[in-house]
């Protein structure tokens, strides 16, 4: 990757106020993450529900107030922009949401939906009907879908409409929140191939948020694993899949179902539940569930860097047997 990154996230925190008048405090949904996304690159955010993936995506898109840190898009700091400044950014950065049908206005036709970005940002003499045809063709839908309503679409078709709307203004970055959620496997594949193809053709950068590791493997150049609002491991997708260095990544990857039934399947089982964001563990926040945890892990913060762990794993490491619950 060369040149300056299209998106640069530095130490971003997002906090939410909780409690009543007397017990007011704040929890950190995103607790300080940093990463870069370069032009033409796909970056995946992985993590279980509640790990802060979606909150981070909303913060990048300006839908969520950033309480600390900075976000730079295309050389411009955007977390401090006002409404009109952010509107200009949104021409070049689009977002896709989880629910394929639910993210489409139910009373608008497909034609109106995919050309909505032009109506918001000015049509500049474009013929909206031609644009709708062009976009629908680009995502592989027949042009006569323009007169349909969202409830008449299947999940996969609705997702394609969402993709068409996201690429309408020729953005340099697309943030896709669970682009394959709610789709069956063959349609997931179609949507991913479509995204890959469009990325190559239009030179897009993408941030994909998912808990589906097959999706990550299929489309992402680099990935970050989130746990309790922090990155525990970042790296090239191939390298991370080949040899996860953080115990949490290793456990996550070992839980990924393999289509081949004969393949050896060594699951690393994590004890206990995800801790509450209201009472984060001291030291390394993963130590409460980590099979490799040592005494230092309960007191000292792990080193920052690509792998947030005191004792990064060697390739093929297995958890010490005494720590694995029966």
């Amino acid at each position: 990757m060369s040149g300056s990154p299209i998106l640069s996230v530095r130490d971003v925190q997002v906090s939410f106020p909780v409690g009543g008048l007397t017990t007011r405090s704040a929890i950190l949904g995103v607790a300080g993450v940093s990463f870069d996304v370069h032009r033409g690159e796909t970056f995946a955010l992985v993590g279980e529900s509640g790990s802060g993936k979606t909150t981070l995506a909303r913060a990048i898109n300006g839908l969520q107030h950033v309480s600390d840190g900075s976000i730079t898009f295309d050389g411009e700091r955007i977390d401090v922009l006002g409404k009109s400044g952010m509107k200009q950014i949104r021409r070049r950065m689009s977002m896709m949401f989880q629910d394929p049908v639910g993210s489409l206005s139910p009373r608008m036709t497909v034609g109106d939906l995919v050309t909505e970005p032009f109506r918001i940002h000015g049509t500049e003499g474009r013929n909206l009907r031609d644009e709708a045809n062009r976009l629908l063709t680009l995502v592989g839908l027949p042009a006569d879908f323009a007169s349909r309503y969202p409830h008449q679409l299947s999940g996969g078709q609705a997702r394609r409409v969402g993709v068409a709307r996201a690429i309408a203004l020729n953005p340099s970055l697309i943030i896709a929140d669970e682009p394959t959620a709610g789709l069956d496997v063959s349609v997931q594949g179609e949507v991913l191939n479509l995204l890959n193809e469009l990325r190559e053709r239009l030179g897009l950068a993408m941030v994909i948020i998912t808990h589906n590791l097959h999706v990550v493997h299929h489309v992402a150049d680099r990935m970050a694993v989130m746990y309790l609002g922090r990155f525990v491991e970042t790296g090239e997708t191939e390298a991370v899949f080949a040899a996860p260095r953080h115990p949490y990544t290793a456990a996550l990857l070992s839980a990924n179902p393999e289509p081949d039934p004969d393949r050896a399947h060594d699951r690393i089982t994590l004890p206990a539940e995800v801790p509450s964001l209201l009472s984060r563990p001291l030291g390394c926040e993963f130590h409460t569930r980590c099979p490799w945890a040592q005494s230092i892990c309960t007191t000292a913060q792990p080193p920052s860097g690509n792998v947030a762990c005191h004792f990064p794993l060697e390739p093929g490491a297995r958890p010490p047997s005494k720590k694995v619950p029966s």
Binding site: G62, L63, S103, E116, I120
Partner: protein, 276 residues
């Protein structure tokens, strides 16, 4: 289209529709249906009973009651239409503001709606007419004051329910302005149930107009109104009952018609009853 067909399958709905169309037809073609002038006083023909000449008889001033009833229908429908339309417009705007705007504004508007709702209609009408004097405009203003809080509350609730849905967030992420989000993405989704509610409110509006005119707070004589005809006949109900009947019957027909129609419409559009 399917909704219309379902409406026509419901006997009560068809009956209501027929009554409503009858009233509208009578109001529109009043001048063709009778040659009598509804305001012409004819002292020699006072208190005439129904006959082929005067279909519903005449009142204490010798005016033809059939002509007065038809023209009274114009007033009733005019008030119903104008005040409902204005109430809907104001209610939608205030409801969207309350539902989408900041919390303090929401609280303020809710307080205002509750205050307006707590006035008994008659007291409100009396208070207003004391200031402005009786007029058709006063009737319309009273109806608007009575209707707006209810409409605004419904729109507010729907807006709050919809504003966190993903398609609204998606519109925000595209950079849509607040007015665009309200107008294009939220309003079309709240308007359906509201229109049905408004159609069910029309009998109430007509009753308010008739009631205010009956009390002398509404339409001023000699302009005919069903309420004032009812009042004309009220004093001599034992001697000349047809005057009170001429005033009361159209009120009954119209309110029944709109009620049946509104209730059937509600059932037809209620998705829970679909496919029945």
């Amino acid at each position: 289209m399917r909704s219309v067909r379902r409406l026509l399958r419901e006997p009560l709905g068809v009956f209501g529709l027929a009554l409503v169309l009858l009233v509208i037809f009578g109001a529109i073609f009043a001048d063709l249906l009778t040659s009598w002038d509804p305001t012409r006083i004819n002292p020699r023909d006072r208190f005439l009973g129904p006959s082929t000449d005067h279909l519903l008889g005449t009142d204490q001033l010798g005016r033809d009651l059939f002509a007065r009833v038809l023209h009274g229908g114009r007033i009733a429908l005019y008030v119903a239409l104008v005040s409902t339309a204005i109430s809907l417009a104001i209610g939608i705007v205030l409801g969207l503001i309350a539902g989408y705007g900041p919390r303090w504004l929401d609280n303020l508007l809710i307080l205002l709606f509750d205050a307006m709702k707590s006035f008994p209609t008659v007291m409100l009408a009396l208070a207003l007419v004391t200031i402005t004097g009786p007029s058709l405009t006063a009737v319309i203003v009273v109806v608007i004051l009575v209707n707006v809080p209810g409409y605004a509350r419904i729109v507010r609730t729907q807006t709050i329910a919809i504003k966190t849905s993903e398609f609204v967030t998606a519109a925000q992420s595209m950079g849509a302005s607040t007015t665009r989000i309200l107008r294009v993405h939220i309003m079309p989704n709240v308007i359906g149930p509201l229109v049905i509610l408004a159609s069910m409110d029309i009998p109430v509006v007509i009753a308010i107009e008739a009631g205010m005119s009956f009390l002398g707070l509404g339409v001023r004589p000699p302009t005919p109104s069903w309420g004032s005809i009812l009042n004309d006949g009220f004093g001599q109900i034992r001697e000349t009952p047809w005057i009170a009947i001429a005033g009361g019957l159209p009120i009954i027909i119209t309110t029944l018609g709109f009620t049946f129609l509104g209730e059937t419409l509600r059932d037809v559009f209620d998705p829970r009853l679909k496919g029945r």
